[in-house]
Every structure is written in structure tokens, then in C-alpha cells.
Symmetry: C2
Subunit: 504 residues, 2 copies
């Protein structure tokens, strides 16, 4: 016997972080692998989370004047080729449709038939197909800006997949805008990064570092890629959203031209920006503990589960009546523009029932038995605290304090994550310390963390570090101060520090 | 010069109905053809309509206990083959993915590479892939029912396409449920048809006839297909939604088994049901007139457009102030759980501006000029009435009466459509009259209508009529009374009338 605390998830984060992640996802019933290579099935608990994420972001986009539209799933190969770097970036991992029917082959089995004249690519992203439409819609500066967003599935044929983090098919939104001036397009690029920052920090409770990608880490075809980077509990970075300034590259490829006020023909300036179901993986790895997922209340699929307790039919009818009336009362409470979502779990599974909800990460659990009812109270626990930490609380207080308690959970999750990131972010100024930081082994196989170090700006130094350590420059943070220093790799002069990390 | 009334859409419905439809869609800026064969681009005005349709239906589904989930876009060929009739039904028109990357070919051009061991079909519908998941989720009767819905894109490689009505890619929802008993599955099939009926009649203002499909018109693999059928203004039928009772066919194919309360192993009973962007085509063809689309207020992308009128900057500032404040007031008004959506169009395009909104089908237009403001009134018109019929109305009355006016428009559209359908539905009892009904030519090329006639129940008579007239049995209406008669084709005995029509 050890005196180790029993946890709901095996292995723990310390024992095996990647495996912990897989087990947490499975135990939460959020999603599972499908038998289709690299594709996932998003189950209702995970999909409801995605609906909450999507509907919140959707309102934020629309507040900036963006409207939703929908474009074809298929992109003709010739379209993808309109921007050279772009096709280069996606050719290695795309699903190609080559036929449009099935026919019985020589051995009686169905085989692809009706070969297409031109192969179609299942969209990995839609710059080129949306550019085609924009070129039709835009002829005068009066037609600009065009501000479009699409909620869609995309496919990138990943070789190694992991649920939510990297799947061949994933769900996302992709915003695409066209503008009359460079300045306006750059402003939009920044504006959408601001929207992502606000959402990820306030709703997913994930602190992020904002910055620009280096040339080698940019979106294929972009002039500038802005990003937000978050730290997971294994101290790796996860890119939680990107916003690209595309210059006139795609406008030239797709022929998006307009007459300006002086009747001069010009190419438009475009942007694109996206977040995906990948964020869900990041959210799980930021907040989850050894008992499973922890849902930030602002996006949680449900806020509260009521667990009625009874031993016989007489008790059942009394307890269920109380529970139902409490649920009704709670469902009237408004929490950040959304009525509280309350689940009642009256399954007869004893202790396992409570643990099911802990593993799902629901913010509040409340047990209701005959004795609680006598005292007009419930026995409640918070997901951000130990499963054992439950206490009796008067019904009226429970209801009245709910908004504050949920906000407190939300804030606690954010503060914890920020504290963790700060504790694992350091400045390093010499190469040996830097290399040690990312290679020092330990039982847990979790190394390093975030490092702010000087970089001379050369692709070569960046590539060498990546080769040696699998460490990349996550971004050149906006708030990195001007400061004289020497490149961590080659000792050449550098004007500011950049953010290094291992990354998902 | 003719004294023909000038309309916004050329040709008119009478002149050329199919062409009228294309022009109406184009003029409304709801959607357009893409350069990808058979695929459409849904523009913001059309997509917002789809968002309203989807969010309304989504609430209705969830009220019946259904939860949303998401399943892979790709279906392995072997899965589709699990149900023989099913694969037969879709093999002729499907997009087949055969490769997972692109490589430079001999001539330097990119060509498909990385051939897949098994071809993947882009989902035409998801019974088989969802069945695979259900088989994992279900082991005991306690796991049933499973009530799942998916909002997704699907692909059916149609040879002749028409925007919204028949496109290779379309958006839809597909519900999939599994039950412990035949009775419960049949109840669910009927329940979802009831949801569709309520939505289509109350929100899209389209009267429908409810019934069951004949064997030859059923969904491939279904035991029973229930449907709702609407009449378009060219008197053709459009199937606006279907709900399938699948028996144990798909459960056997996908091995969805459970232990019942007596520990006996049984196959589950499944259903599936769907509506798609096709409904939008039906809505346009039901209500549209020779000036364009008419949006039913319950689903309209916007309810009211305010059209400020001014001749100089001084007037502009005064008029815009009034307009903005009126918009703000209107946006507080609740119309069927949705705040009124108000557009302000301050473009300087004179009369064309008002016509743009007529063609888009917005329910209410209101002009606001300096003279209107003096009288604290607006000059308003309704889309369901003649464009010329506009009248001055006091601001307060305009605001206060808005909910009633919108409801009146909604009801008017429904009544008109019902009246039209009733006027063009007849009972016929002899073959010659029946054949004349569907062949009598006229300038307008619009024939027949709905015919309730007797049918002996044989596939042969049904096939002959289809061959001769392109007329099909749309459904065996639920409310078709028991009545002795003779088959319209073969004179054999028949127990009730069925609904015949030409169809989209």
C-alpha cells in the first residue's frame, strides 16, 4: 500500500502527460477516435462546448461588422496553385477527390469511377476559393471592405493525430476580409487577434502571449502572422489562434481588383484569421487535473449537476420534487447572457455518478438527500477544489451566490494558469543554460518551459535550435522591450527577446 | 409601348418560371453559383436566413431531448456497403477521395499521390458512420434511446444542379436515433415529422401535406419514409423534409445490439430525419413574386430597413440622428423570441436602393426624410403588398404596431400559399382527365397541379405514370380517407387516394 491519493484518471499528469490527456478526453465523453483515419467523433458533451465557443465568438465577430457566409468544400487544384507558397504549404497533406461515382469492378466489388477532369482538394483553408468570389464582388472602392466569416470543417491529412489537438478533419471558423488600403487590412489583422485574446482569456480562462510569428513559422502565403500562445501544464506551448495579414499576395492570385476614388485600378489588401476545435485541447491541457477535465464556467456545456439521493420510492418522490423545483429556480438565473444550464442525474449508480461529473469537469455538483431537504439545503462541491471539499449550504444562498461562485471559479482557473506560466517562464542569456533548460531530463519527462531569449533574426539560428532541441520561436511578443543583447545561438547582436518553447 | 406593369425581375414567373427562379436568387444576393461544379456560394443574406432556420429548428430538436454531435466527413467504402440498398442508392453520385497528397508529376505539374488503401466517400448521409459509433455506445437497454443530431455539409454528385434546390454540396441537419423498441422508434419518426411540419408551416409559412412515401420513393434502406410536401407556384411539389423509420436494417449492418431487461440480446431500432438548404429554394418558390424574394418575418435575415433621405449635409445629420434613434428603439422590440433586426441603408443610390431591398424580400421598408421627421412619422411599405402601396405612419404607431404587422405578413403569406394550393389541387377519377391534367400545354409551360387519385398499390402502375408523365406519387397522405375506388392507371381496386404531382 502506498499513501498516494487515489485519482480518477490513470496515469496522472506527472506519470505520463500525453497518456493522461488521452484518458481525460475519453473519461469526459467529449470525443473519441473514429475508425476513419485521423478523424474524431465529437460527442454531445464536447460538441455543446464547441457550440458555446462558436456562439460566443460569433457575436464578437458580428460586433466588428463581420457577416457569415458559406463557400464550397472542394477547391480545384488550379485554385490552390494560384499562390505558390500556399500550395507548397498544403500539398503534402490534403484529401484529393478524383472520382464522382462508384461502379462494380471486374471482381464484383465497388471501385471509384467517373474520373474528374481536374482533381478537387477538400479545403484545408479557403483563401483561394473565397478570393474567387471576392474578385466578383469587388469592382469599386465602394464595395470594400468585404468582411466575411465561415464556420466550417477543413481537412489536413496529418500523419500523427491526437483528438482535438491535431486531427485530419477539424471544425473551425475562418475569417476573410478585403480592404482598400494596407493600413486598414493591418488594423483588421490586429483587431481579430484582439478578439481572440479577449475570448481565450476571458472565456477559456487561458492566459496568452501575443506576438508575431517569424518568417519561417508564418501561414503559407502570408506577409505577417500574428498569434496567441498559451502554456500547457507540461510547459509546452499551444498556438490558440492566428490572424494573418496577407498583403496583396492572394488578391493578385485571385485577381481581387478595384477602382479607387481616383479611378485608378488597384489590388485589394486581404486578411484571414481562424481558431479551431484545437482550442478545446488547449483548454483541457491548461485546466485539467488528475481527476479529469475542468470546464471554465463561461463556456461549460452545463454549469451545475443536481444529484438526488434516495433509498426508496417515498424518498424518491420527495427528493425529486425538491430537485426539480431547485433546477427550475436555477435555470432562471442569468450568467453572462446565458441562462444557467442545470443537469439532473437521477441514475442509481451510487458514488460513480458523482465521479462521472467530476471527470466531465462540470463546475458545480450538488447532492440532495432527505436530510438536506429537512434543512432546506444542498451539499455542494466546486470542480476547482478537491472532490472531498463539499459543504452544506442553504438553498437560497446556493441559488443567490451562484453567479459569484461561477465567476470565482472562472477567475481561479485563469489565475492558476497565469501563475503556472509565470513560474515556468524565464529569461536566459547563455547557450549552455538554454540547451540545459530544454534537455535536462527528469522522471516526468517534462522539461523547460517558456524562455525569453535574444535572437539575431536569422532563419539559420532558428532552424539549428529547432533541429537540436525541437524548440521553436513561438512568437516575437508585442510587449518584448527594446533591449540590447546577443543571439542565444550565434552571439550576434539582437535588439529584443523572443519567446522560445517546445510546442504542440 | 405596352401597358405591362414593370417588375423588378425579368422574366416574370409566367414568362419563364425556372429562369425567374434563377434571377430572383441572383437579385436577392442570397447565393450564387461557384466555379466548383454543382457547388454554391451562400452569401451573407442567404446564410443569415439559414442561421435563423437552423437556430429555430435546433431549439425545437433539443426540446425533444436530442443533443448535437459531430461525425467524420469521410465514410470508408466498406461502411457504405453495410446496407445493400443504401450503397446502391448513393453509389451513382458520390465524391470519392482516393489520395492524401499532391506531388510533382513527370511534367512538373502537381498530381494526386499517396493512394489510400481504401477509398473514402465524402458523406452523402451518415447512417453508417454514426451507426458505427452507436454500436460502441450501446450495450444495455439503459443506454437507450440515443438521440443525436448533426449540422453538417453533405455531398451528392448531382448531374443537373440548381441553387438551393439541388446542389452537389448542401448544408443540412441529420438526426439519428436508436431505440429499444419498434414502437418507440416509430413514435420518434412521427415526432420529428411533426417538428418539421410545425417549423415549415409556422416559420417558413409554407403549407404542407403530410404522408408516407411509397416503397419506390423511400430513402435507400428505410422501412418507412414520412415526408412533408409543399406546392410551388409552378404547381410542382417540393419535398421539404423527411423522417425515416429504419427498422433494424441499419442496426444489423452496424451491429447496434443491446441487452434488454431480461438479459436477452437484441438489435436496436433506428430512425433518421433531415432537412436541408433545399427548404430555402422551396421558400423562395412559394412566396416570391415578380419583384423578387419575399421573406417570411419569422425567419427573415432582417425585419426592417430604414432608408434615410437627404439632399445636403445639414439634412443628413438631422435625418441620420432620427433614423439611428428609431433603429435603436425598434431593436428593443421582441418578435417571437428574437429582437427585431433593423438595417439602415444610407447609400446614395436614389430609387435603386429601395428596389434592392424589395428584391431581397425584407418585410418592411421605411423612408425617412426631413418632411417625415417634421410630422414625426415614417413612410412605410410592406413586402407582401404592391411596392407602390406605401403610407405615412406616426413613429410611435410604427414601432408599437410592428409585431402585429409582421405577424400579419407572416399569416398573409401562409394563407396565400394555402389558397393557391387548394385552388390547384383536384380529385380525378379517370385516366384521360388525369393524363390531360399533366399534359395540357399552355404558353406558360406550367401544367396540372396536385391531384388526389386512386392507386392500386403496385410498383408497375406507379412506374408507368412516372415514365409517361414525369408525375410521381408524392405521398400517401395521413389524412387520406378510406374510400373505395379504382386505380387511375389500371382500374384495379383501391382503398384510398394518394397525392400525385410533378416534383422538384
Amino acid at each position: 500500500m502506498t499513501n498516494k491519493v487515489q485519482t480518477a484518471i490513470t496515469p496522472t499528469r506527472e506519470e505520463d502527460y500525453p497518456q493522461w490527456y488521452q484518458e481525460v478526453v475519453k473519461a469526459s465523453e467529449m470525443a473519441e477516435k473514429s475508425s476513419v483515419r485521423g478523424c474524431m467523433v465529437i460527442r454531445p458533451w464536447g460538441y455543446t462546448l464547441w457550440e458555446n465557443i462558436a456562439s460566443t465568438l460569433d457575436v464578437m465577430f458580428k460586433e466588428t461588422g463581420v457577416k457569415n457566409a458559406y463557400f464550397p468544400l472542394f477547391i480545384p487544384l488550379s485554385y490552390l496553385e494560384k499562390e505558390a507558397e500556399h500550395v507548397e504549404g498544403f500539398a503534402k497533406e490534403c484529401a484529393v477527390v478524383t472520382h464522382h461515382k462508384l461502379e462494380k469492378g471486374p471482381n464484383g466489388k465497388l471501385v471509384p469511377a467517373g474520373e474528374l477532369a481536374e482533381p478537387l482538394i477538400v479545403r484545408p483553408t479557403s483563401e483561394t476559393i473565397i478570393g474567387e468570389s471576392m474578385s466578383k464582388w469587388v469592382s469599386s472602392y465602394r464595395d470594400l471592405p468585404v468582411l466575411i466569416n465561415q464556420w466550417a470543417n477543413v481537412v489536413r491529412w496529418e500523419m500523427r493525430t491526437r483528438i482535438f489537438l491535431r486531427t485530419s478533419e477539424f471544425l473551425w471558423q475562418e475569417g476573410h476580409t478585403a480592404h482598400a488600403t494596407e493600413e486598414e487590412a493591418k488594423e483588421r489583422t490586429q483587431m481579430m487577434l484582439d478578439v481572440y485574446t479577449k475570448f481565450v482569456q476571458e472565456c477559456l480562462a487561458m492566459p496568452v502571449i501575443r506576438g508575431a510569428k517569424t518568417e519561417s513559422e508564418r501561414f503559407p502565403g502570408a506577409v505577417d502572422t500574428l498569434c496567441i500562445e498559451a502554456m500547457m501544464q507540461d510547459k509546452k506551448a499551444l498556438q490558440a489562434g492566428t490572424s494573418h495579414f496577407l498583403g496583396q499576395n492572394f488578391a493578385k492570385g485571385s485577381d481581387i481588383k478595384f477602382q479607387d476614388a481616383d479611378k485608378k485600378e488597384q489590388f485589394a489588401w486581404t486578411t484571414s484569421w481562424g481558431v479551431s476545435t484545437r482550442m478545446i485541447g488547449g483548454m483541457i491541457m491548461t485546466h485539467g487535473d488528475d481527476d479529469g477535465v475542468i470546464m471554465p464556467p463561461r463556456v461549460a456545456p452545463a454549469h451545475i449537476v443536481l444529484l438526488p439521493i434516495f433509498r426508496n420510492d417515498e424518498e424518491k418522490s420527495k427528493v425529486m420534487e425538491y430537485t426539480t423545483s431547485l433546477a427550475k429556480e436555477l435555470r432562471q438565473v442569468l450568467y453572462h447572457d446565458r441562462k444557467l444550464v442545470v443537469e439532473i442525474d437521477d441514475r442509481d449508480t451510487g458514488g460513480a455518478r458523482g465521479w462521472d461529473w467530476i471527470k466531465k469537469g462540470i463546475p458545480i455538483r450538488a447532492e440532495i438527500g432527505p436530510k438536506d431537504i429537512e434543512k432546506d439545503s444542498v451539499f455542494a462541491g466546486r470542480r476547482d477544489r478537491s472532490p472531498k471539499e463539499k459543504k452544506a449550504i442553504k438553498r437560497s444562498e446556493f441559488v443567490n451566490s451562484m453567479v459569484d461562485v461561477l465567476d470565482d471559479i472562472q477567475n481561479t482557473l485563469f489565475s492558476r494558469a497565469l501563475e503556472f506560466r509565470n513560474a515556468n517562464t524565464i529569461e536566459i542569456d547563455d547557450k549552455k543554460t538554454f540547451y540545459d533548460f530544454y534537455t535536462s531530463s527528469s522522471e516526468t519527462r517534462i522539461h523547460g518551459g517558456f524562455c525569453m531569449a535574444h535572437w539575431c533574426g536569422s532563419r539559420e539560428c532558428e532552424a539549428k535550435i529547432k533541429e537540436d532541441l525541437s524548440v521553436t520561436i513561438r512568437c516575437i511578443p508585442f510587449d518584448s522591450k527594446d533591449e540590447k543583447g546577443k543571439c542565444i545561438y550565434c552571439d550576434s547582436e539582437s535588439g529584443k527577446r523572443v519567446l522560445f518553447a517546445k510546442a504542440y
